[in-house]
């Protein structure tokens, strides 16, 4: 699915990612954990193509393509989906119109015609249920006046609509109460299959009780310093990050 090799990235001249390598195979769920400022969100943004991040070295191969050479929109069209940590409010653009534009641009990229209105509406109805999103919200402006939980559910709803091959969830659990977390996790779990992969960026182990990862990686100071299975997350929860910091210094 995606192979990241020796990725270096900076923002405003400051290096954040310092040689990050990661391989995610089809259908796998990888959790990226780490203390604040370790570069977790930077990784998510770099993969999605945010322009203020400058990649200075390394490569990212996504389904055989050099991801770093693609524009943000082309990455999305190729099947990369970033669920934002802070979804942007866009007054005046309705959720529905936004999603239809999005789906049709992705379809056009693949040489397909616009989606049939009937098919689109049926899809909206079906996918809303997945994250228990109120039908009224889809008629409103994108994220405008949504609660924190509604915004995150809207991200997962969009992901369900766009059916990406790789979902990157950037701290989707932050700011969610336990009920909202369960709904969001449930939505993600339903989207899991043998083909679709996920990268979960999170600070806390809590999310991983609901979305059980195949692998857990610890990011520290711009590099992955430890990898393991879900048990590693529990160990982190128990011991915190400090023991890894000293380990990585020794290494």
């Amino acid at each position: 699915m995606i192979t990241i090799k020796n990725l270096h990235a900076s923002v405003d001249g400051k290096e954040i990612l310092k040689g990050l390598s990661l391989e995610v195979k089809d259908g796998e769920v990888h959790a990226i954990m780490g203390p604040n400022g370790s570069g977790k969100s930077t990784l998510a943004s770099v993969l999605a193509g945010k322009s203020e991040y400058e990649v200075t070295a390394g490569e990212v191969i996504f389904n055989g393509k050099n991801l770093l050479e693609l524009s943000a929109e082309d990455r999305a069209r190729e099947g990369v989906f970033l669920a934002f940590q802070y979804p942007v409010e866009i007054p005046g653009v309705s959720n529905i119109n936004f999603l239809k534009t999005s789906i049709n641009e992705i379809r056009a990229y693949k040489g397909l015609g616009p989606i049939e209105p009937k098919e689109f509406l049926a899809m909206v109805k079906e996918k809303q249920k997945l994250v228990e999103l109120d039908g009224k919200l889809t008629g409103r402006s994108v994220n405008e006046g949504f609660s924190g939980g509604e915004k995150k559910r809207n991200e997962i709803f969009q992901m369900a609509m766009l059916e990406p091959s790789l979902g990157i969830l950037d701290e989707t659990d932050s700011g969610l109460d336990i009920d909202a977390l369960r709904i969001v996790a449930n939505g993600v779990n339903k989207l899991r299959d043998a083909k679709r992969s996920f990268i979960l960026v999170t600070h806390y182990q809590r999310l991983l009780d609901y979305i059980v990862p195949d692998f857990v990686h610890v990011l520290y100071n711009g590099r992955i310093v430890k990898s393991g299975t879900k048990e590693l997350a529990l160990e982190l929860e128990e011991k915190g990050y400090d023991w890894l910091k000293s380990e990585s210094v020794e290494a």
Binding site: A72, A76, F84, I90, P91, F98
Partner: protein
């Protein structure tokens, strides 16, 4: 530098005034006084505080003529093209003059009077009562010039208790043979408890330079409702000086919508005066402009009496080398307690060469009031751009979507669907 040229042009304007005075309608004394005022003040230039960002003096050179008979034909077919709402009453002001041929008045609803202003100010008591009462010639040289030299326009009267949902469209259209000035003058009187919708539209045919110095006076009677749309869609050779002077009585609602969607040089002076308690006014404006268009919106809302409410929202999208100015004055006079007055001006700059000048001016002399103003000028929101791109929407579509959304806040205020669709189409073609 162009002082000589200015004097020459002003002189020729005044000479033409002397020549044509005997043939002009109405009060010759008033016209003389107005001409005198204009002669004294001259054509405004950038040294004038109110004309800092738009320079009529540089535009009004001697190649403009005043002979409205040098015009090309305007056909019913042309007019049909300019008609914005299917079920409406159409009035045509051709080259500044009321055209009876192009304004068929055979099916007017009861209680609505429409006539050539040149006739009305002579024979209609109501027109006589209201004419030149609200727009004072000493308020601005262009008001003076219009008062002195206007040769035509329309008088619209909606009688007491008459509520009409049929829009009345006043089409101002210019089609001259040589560069010319036209100075139409309109008077709209909406009487007590009446309701009316007027669309003033501004068009040009052909490539000849036109300077339109247009003035509309509005009286909104007690408990009346008046929706007043202005759609400016002139061509690239059109210069426009547009004055709207409205007087709003108690318990009435006056809504203005100003869409500047064409023209090379547009100055709008929109002045609203509350004369009695509990008046309400909304001022909406949108100017998506490009190339070297210059648009300057000056508004004055004068809360001269207590308990009135005004709300103003003007938005601009400014591309290429275009320049936009917003100057919004709100006066709250000492007696005007319990005033609510709000004002917002927002602009998006699409190019490094584009300019926006925005100046809110609140002068508040009462202490128990709620007033606010806010302005912002910036580029398209980068976070929103990335969000849309991250969903597979291309850069150009994303930008168009965001600008459209920005403009829609104003377009959505338009209550006539056909008109809204028309404005949307014009905006799309401007943004392309």
């Amino acid at each position: 530098m162009n002082a000589t040229a200015t004097i020459t042009f002003k002189d020729s304007l005044l000479a033409h005034f002397e020549q044509s005075l005997p043939s002009l309608f109405g009060d010759a004394q008033l016209r003389r006084k107005a001409a005198l005022y204009f002669e004294e003040k001259g054509i405004p230039n950038r040294k004038w505080e109110d004309y800092k960002y738009i320079n009529p003096e540089a535009v009004l050179k001697s190649d403009f003529g005043f002979r409205t008979n040098r015009m090309r034909e305007i056909t019913p077919h042309d007019i049909n093209e300019f008609k914005l709402v299917k079920d409406s009453i159409v009035i045509v002001i051709a080259n500044g003059i009321y055209s009876a041929e192009l304004s068929p008045m055979n099916t007017l609803p009861v209680g609505i009077t429409i006539s050539n202003i040149a006739d009305a100010v002579v024979s209609n008591e109501i027109a006589k009562k209201h004419y030149a009462k609200y727009a004072k010639f000493d308020a601005d040289p262009f008001v003076a010039l219009n008062t002195a030299m206007c040769a035509g326009g329309v008088f619209v009267h909606v009688a007491k208790n008459v509520q009409t949902k049929t829009p009345i469209q006043i089409i101002h259209v210019s089609n001259f043979e040589t560069p010319s000035i036209a100075q139409p003058r309109n008077l709209i009187v909406v009487e007590e408890s009446a309701e009316a919708i007027v669309i003033e539209s501004y068009e040009t045919i052909g490539p000849i330079k036109t300077f339109l110095n247009t003035l509309t006076e509005v009286y909104v009677g007690p408990n009346a409702k008046f929706d007043h749309y202005r759609i400016q869609t002139e061509g690239e050779n059109a210069f426009q000086m547009n004055t709207l002077q409205a007087s709003v009585c108690g318990n009435s609602l006056y809504n203005t919508y100003t869409f500047t969607l064409g023209g090379i040089f547009t100055r709008n002076n929109l002045n609203i005066l509350f004369t009695e308690k509990n008046g309400e006014a909304h001022l909406y404006g949108l100017y998506p402009i490009t190339n070297s268009q210059v648009v300057d919106n000056h508004t004055i809302v004068d809360h001269a009496v207590p308990n009135c409410m005004s709300n103003e929202l003007y938005k601009g999208v400014v591309n290429e080398k275009a320049s936009a100015t917003f100057n919004g004055k709100i006066f709250v006079r000492p007696d005007a307690q319990k005033t609510n007055a709000f004002q917002t001006n927002r602009n998006i700059l699409l190019s490094d060469d584009a300019t926006v000048n925005t100046k809110p001016q609140l002068e508040i002399y009462a202490d128990d009031v709620k007033c606010s103003h806010g302005t912002s000028t910036g580029k398209v929101n980068e976070d929103a751009m990335f969000y849309l791109q991250a969903r597979g929407i291309g850069k150009e579509s994303a930008r168009a979507l965001l600008i459209r959304a920005f403009a829609e806040e104003v377009v959505d205020q338009v209550k006539i669907e056909e008109l809204r669709d028309y404005i949307d189409k014009r905006i799309d073609s401007i943004l392309k």
